[in-house]
Symmetry: C2
Subunit: 396 residues, 2 copies
């Protein structure tokens, strides 16, 4: 039976492929500190569950294809507080940021179209772009430069006549890079000058640690036709399981096309949309506390990590991830060994091996991505385990 070339060109998730080893380790009683998946442990605001529990209709009906008006209204108010005005028709509710990304790529990519993506990047971008018929053109970044990609020359060097878009994640998963407004502005100008879409994945928007200015690429009105914002409630409100995201753009033509896909899949889950609308009622206090919590974790993680001999990393500025280069041969083998061979007092640790975050063959082999999504004490222990494991692994 034939399978499509595009699906064969896609990959399994590097974050999820060690799952079977983890299951085996846990069934043997081993405790695993999970730093491999961006699944926060921060409680979901109770407003979500209260709104869902209050649903009193007898029939769980389809919602409107573009999204429920209450949710869209809540999103509009949230953006207005950031100083960005969106109309109702600028927003399409999707099944997580994932569907928002995939729909966007389906709308803008033909067979062989290219998307410039700073490397390392969120691996599922590869799936969405490949499945839509496109190709990632990676732009190299360097740990020594804090993985900065706001570089006109390097971006322009990659633009061809097949380029349709630049896709950025700000703040960044996996590097923790966070753009300044000046850097973001520079990238918007590159997109504008070359008539490219600028797809801005801003799902970690609130999680920036070296300033308090929260901004959105949607504020630059000279590139309304270029910018597509990908957003989601998953990280912002620690509600990954709700699968509520959105495409936001003032490009009417693009949104009219995306609506075809929205109608094709009918709607996103009704109850989750109701819960998500309620999430937007949390006050600034919520964000302040969550951000402080992540900042402390970042500090613990970075401090401990930079003390491990031979580890190369730089202080992450946003999101809740960081990349680190380890003094080992191969992070994939090391991760497997951590699950199958290593333990200290019955405990081990999981990361995401780095190569899955690169499109360039051979890159990231000795790197890992750490998601600092567990409490400080556990994080500290996890870093100690890492230090111990590196030593044992290299002396095995």
């Amino acid at each position: 039976m034939k399978l499509s070339q595009k699906v064969q060109d896609c990959s399994l998730s590097p974050m999820r492929k060690y799952h079977p080893f983890a299951v085996d380790a846990e069934s043997c009683g081993k405790k695993i500190y999970h730093l491999n998946i961006g699944q926060p442990d921060i409680p979901t605001p109770p407003q979500f569950f209260e709104a869902v529990r209050a649903y009193s209709q007898q029939v769980l009906s389809y919602a409107a294809s573009p999204g429920m008006p209450d949710l869209i209204g809540a999103i509009q108010r949230y953006y207005r507080r950031l100083g960005v005005n969106y109309k109702e028709e600028d927003i399409l509710v999707t099944a997580g940021g994932s569907e928002a990304l995939f729909m966007t790529m389906l709308c803008i990519l033909d067979e062989g179209s290219e998307v410039i993506v700073p490397e390392p990047f969120y691996p599922n971008y590869h799936t969405f772009i490949t499945a839509a018929g496109g190709k990632i053109v990676p732009m190299a970044t360097y740990p020594e430069e804090n993985y900065n990609y706001a570089n006109r020359e390097r971006l322009e060097a990659l633009i061809t006549e097949k380029t349709r878009a630049i896709l950025i994640t700000n703040p960044n998963n996996p590097t923790g890079n966070s753009l300044t407004e000046k850097q973001l502005r520079l990238i918007t100008k590159v997109a504008r000058d070359h008539n490219l879409y600028l797809v801005c994945d801003e799902v970690y928007r609130e999680f920036v640690y070296d300033h308090d200015k929260i901004f959105c690429a949607g504020k630059y009105r000279d590139i309304d036709q270029n910018i597509v914002i990908i957003d989601s409630v998953s990280k912002r409100f620690s509600s990954c399981g709700a699968r509520i995201g959105m495409i936001i753009s003032r490009n009417r033509e693009l949104m009219a096309q995306a609506l075809k896909f929205c109608q094709g899949r009918l709607c996103t889950a009704t109850l989750d949309q109701i819960g998500a609308a309620a999430l937007y009622s949390v006050g600034p206090d919520y964000f302040r506390k969550v951000k402080e919590e992540y900042r402390r974790r970042r500090d613990v993680c970075y401090a401990k990590l930079s003390q491990i001999p031979g580890v190369i990393c730089s202080e992450p500025k946003g999101a809740f991830y960081m990349m680190a280069k380890l003094p080992i041969d191969n992070a994939e083998l090391f991760q497997t060994w951590l699950l199958t061979d290593f333990e200290d007092r019955g405990e081990t640790v999981m990361f995401s091996p780095g190569s899955g975050f690169y499109a360039t063959e051979g890159k990231g082999i000795d790197e890992i991505r750490i998601a600092y999504v567990i409490n400080e004490e556990d994080l500290s222990r996890a870093m100690d385990l890492l230090a111990l494991a590196i030593e044992q692994y290299n002396n095995r």
Copy 2:
């Protein structure tokens, strides 16, 4: 800004495109009988809401990418009662039957691949197949033959070297056709003999009115590699807003590829999966009552409709739809007129114009699809409105 050819080749939903006219009509105080969308009014079993309300974890986390084990277990037990044994790995939970269909098409279609689909068909098939790079090859069916498509010669006449799959809906939306076991068996043999996928959309499985035998194409073990079942809780349990569906296949290679997409979009909504698992605990009494309700509606709908002078239709055997040919020039114009110009005692009616259900240009222009998803009394009134409207429309 460039848009992809595939999205431009997709269409807006014919079921949803009269929505703005309906909003206008309702805002003027007009009452509309909605027979245009397959949104049942049958209450969702309370088990769904009870399970959702009982969720007591603090964090709404990602679920497993292939689906939650409890839900997959419930689905396995449901199929076992139908006499079909599926392993856990034969099932992938998706965001409705919609995502199941789209993922399947992404896995099996390359640019220019063909899928044979009996016509008229569920219009969103066009979106999923087109977005995946493929093309629908429609197979003509005839109201005089009850829209039967179990015809080896006619199917084989359409097979080319580009054909990858036959896609059937059984029971059928929009025609109400329901295959006998013998007819289904014939189609499975055509797929087997030509080494094609047979994608069976069986989301209306329980809704058959001329026999009590519920069956699934998955029971034919000689075509394990060919058959992909598309299923959903939406219609079976009147829970369209849950967006829980599934891909079911014993083709290991195909399922391994589909898992890449499941991982790419991380998971389907956690609470809805928990609710959906509980739905499968309803007893046979639930199905009996629901089926009786729909049978009565079908009887009212068909009896009234066949009395309208000039209407051509045949008795539907399954699902909750029927197609009818009206003695009017153009069903699209007629539908618009129903919303903008017609009323009787402040009431009007909505259907889905037929042409959206056909790929062949010019077909279905004087046909409509009726979804008999409202109670008998309202349905009867809606049919009276239709009769009156046809007369007035032709005399206007």
